[in-house]
């Protein structure tokens, strides 16, 4: 190995320790019994699962976990379907007003979510959507980013394939569903992962639209629980691990696809 290469490895490894350390610390602390949490050692001397038992039985972490899964899954399915339908239509059809519609959707990308929060809340409280799943879901059911992202990929699908489908007697929707969608599978996978992660991690809107504990998502529940837990670091880290490790495990399994998806969406988007 060349010397420059060794130096690179040393610097990268030092950085990698900083990247990984909080996760290791969080997980190990979540297995410590209360008296050990301020001990110097990283490893728990008497590892226990009691902290996890406590957050599931004495608090609503199970419910919050489920709420987060539900919101993230429904949003992801909706985004995949509608965004790709719009992306497909804008890429493969000619009709009056097409450019205006595209620009209109694209322009919404420039508006920061933070600006929409108050009008959304005004609407949600006016119609009684606060503390409901619909209230949690409605702002995210479609994204301009996904429209743009799928449109880019549909542009590379040759028209001949679609015409062949038409000759075979497929309806226009059948064409989209059976011919076009399967062709952009890798784009859809990237969009699905990004959407799921974004919703799993979302905080500001769920914090605002839910006031009853039973409707919290995991990040909201974790934040408000931790705010009251004080020095019970064992419970806080157990809750944080519950939020972190499912996504981290999914990431480790699919890391190549996820990173490549993010890279292509970042460069295109």
């Amino acid at each position: 190995m060349r010397r420059a290469n060794i130096i690179s490895y040393v610097i990268l490894a030092a950085g990698a320790i900083i990247m990984v350390f909080p996760f290791v610390w969080m997980l190990l602390t979540s297995f410590k019994p209360m008296p050990e949490i301020f001990d110097l050692g990283l490893l728990p001397k008497e590892p226990t699962l009691d902290n996890y038992r406590t957050i599931f039985t004495d608090y609503l972490f199970g419910r919050w976990f489920w709420n987060s899964i539900l919101v993230a899954v429904i949003t992801t399915v909706s985004v995949l379907f509608f965004d790709s339908l719009v992306g497909y239509t804008l890429a493969k059809y000619e009709f009056p007003g097409k450019n205006i519609i595209f620009i209109m959707i694209l322009s919404t990308l420039m508006v920061p979510t933070e600006m929409l929060i108050i009008p959304w809340y005004a609407t949600a409280s006016q119609y009684g959507w606060t503390n409901t799943y619909w209230g949690l879901l409605f702002p995210g059911l479609m994204t301009a980013f996904g429209v743009f992202f799928t449109r880019q990929t549909f542009n590379t699908v040759p028209d001949e394939l679609l015409d062949a489908g038409r000759i075979d007697g497929l309806s226009e929707f059948g064409l989209f569903w059976r011919v076009a969608l399967p062709l952009i599978r890798s784009t859809l996978a990237a969009l699905a992962i990004l959407t799921f992660l974004g919703n799993w991690n979302a905080f500001l809107w769920p914090l605002i639209v839910t006031q009853s504990q039973r409707m919290y998502t995991l990040p909201v529940g974790l934040a408000l629980f931790s705010g009251e837990a004080g020095s019970q670091w064992n419970l806080i880290t157990a809750g944080a691990s519950l939020a972190v490790f499912p996504v981290l495990i999914v990431f480790i399994i699919f890391q190549r696809q996820i990173i490549e998806g993010v890279a292509s969406s970042g460069v295109k988007g």
């Binding site: 602390t29 009709f95 500001l204 990040p219 939020a243 972190v244 981290l248 890391q255 460069v267």
Partner: protein, 302 residues
């Protein structure tokens, strides 16, 4: 009646677009306009009972010391955080790009990216406990290495920089990935030709890497500054969760525009004023993004 083929297809297109268009109009475009409208009147759940106050809320911003502090802090966050993200991100990407072993490259790439996929709330809480001045493990490590311990989030002098550090830690991996894509797009022949000409490492970086990386660099600066919920101008989640018992503290030293807007709206229930703040935030983001776009994209001949 038999419709022309092109007409039939256009009808299908409109049918496909109907529901999404309603969504974008009602959930994205109308609320954008509505926030301007809300910023001009007092708040009431029933829209009919809102009272028009004109530009009162905008005038009030001129004398709101806490808001000014939030603006100042947000500016500091961006001035500190964006260059840190870019410089460290580019450094890591170049080191990774230079690694010969594909396994090592893949492993490090995944490790640096991991924090980006995890919930900001959870990692912020972990950091806030680790950075606790008396009991936290970071100070224990500093102490055992013979280094001075730090107050981190507990002192107005160090809190903002500490929050920035945590945010950089979390979003660094995204920048590394962007830069890796950029670096992989630079043809090797350029470096080989430069090596024959006897160019040293720095001038290769200065005259080949940097100019060819420009489009990616512009993109990553814009994303780091103002992308939705991860941009430094929109910091909220980390700031709130790193210092949950005193959001924006100590002494308002970590307060951001979005956090202040949140407090105005949901602690004080002054939605009209909060809406006015978001309108100003929107304008600031717009101006800065346009400025970055035109200024950084300006063609420069090398």
């Amino acid at each position: 009646m038999k419709l022309k083929l092109s007409t039939r297809r256009a009808i299908w297109a409109y049918a496909f677009l109907l529901v999404p268009l309603l969504f974008f109009l009602l959930v994205r475009i109308y609320p954008t306009l509505q926030s301007f409208q809300l910023s001009l009147s007092t708040w009431h759940v029933d829209p009919l009972q809102r009272e028009f106050v004109g530009l009162d809320y905008y005038e009030r911003m001129l004398n709101d010391g806490r808001l000014h502090q939030a603006f100042r802090n947000t500016l500091y966050y961006a001035l500190l955080g964006v260059p840190a993200l870019i410089i460290i991100g580019l450094t890591v990407a170049m080191l990774l790009h230079g690694l010969k072993n594909p396994f090592g490259r893949g492993l490090f790439r995944a490790i640096y990216f991991a924090p980006y996929v995890t919930p900001a709330v959870a990692v912020s809480w972990a950091w806030s406990l680790m950075l606790s001045p008396q009991l936290g493990i970071v100070n224990e490590i500093l102490f055992s290495l013979g280094l001075p311990t730090q107050p981190f989030l507990n002192s107005p002098d160090t809190a903002l920089a500490t929050v920035t550090g945590v945010v950089v830690w979390q979003y660094l991996g995204f920048q590394v990935i962007l830069f890796l894509v950029g670096l992989e797009g630079i043809p090797r022949q350029y470096y080989e030709a430069a090596a024959i000409d006897g160019a040293n490492g720095w001038s290769r970086f200065r005259f080949i890497t940097l100019p060819l990386l420009r489009p990616v660099l512009v993109l990553s600066i814009i994303i780091a500054t103002a992308s939705n919920s991860t941009g430094f101008l929109q910091l909220f989640t980390q700031v709130l969760n790193l210092n949950f018992s005193d959001p924006g503290g100590p002494l308002g030293s970590t307060l951001t525009i979005v956090l202040y807007m949140y407090q105005v709206a949901f602690n004080r229930f002054e939605f009209g004023y909060a809406a006015a703040i978001t309108v100003v935030l929107f304008l600031i983001i717009m101006v800065i993004t346009i400025f970055q776009w035109t200024f950084l994209n300006k063609r420069v001949d090398y």
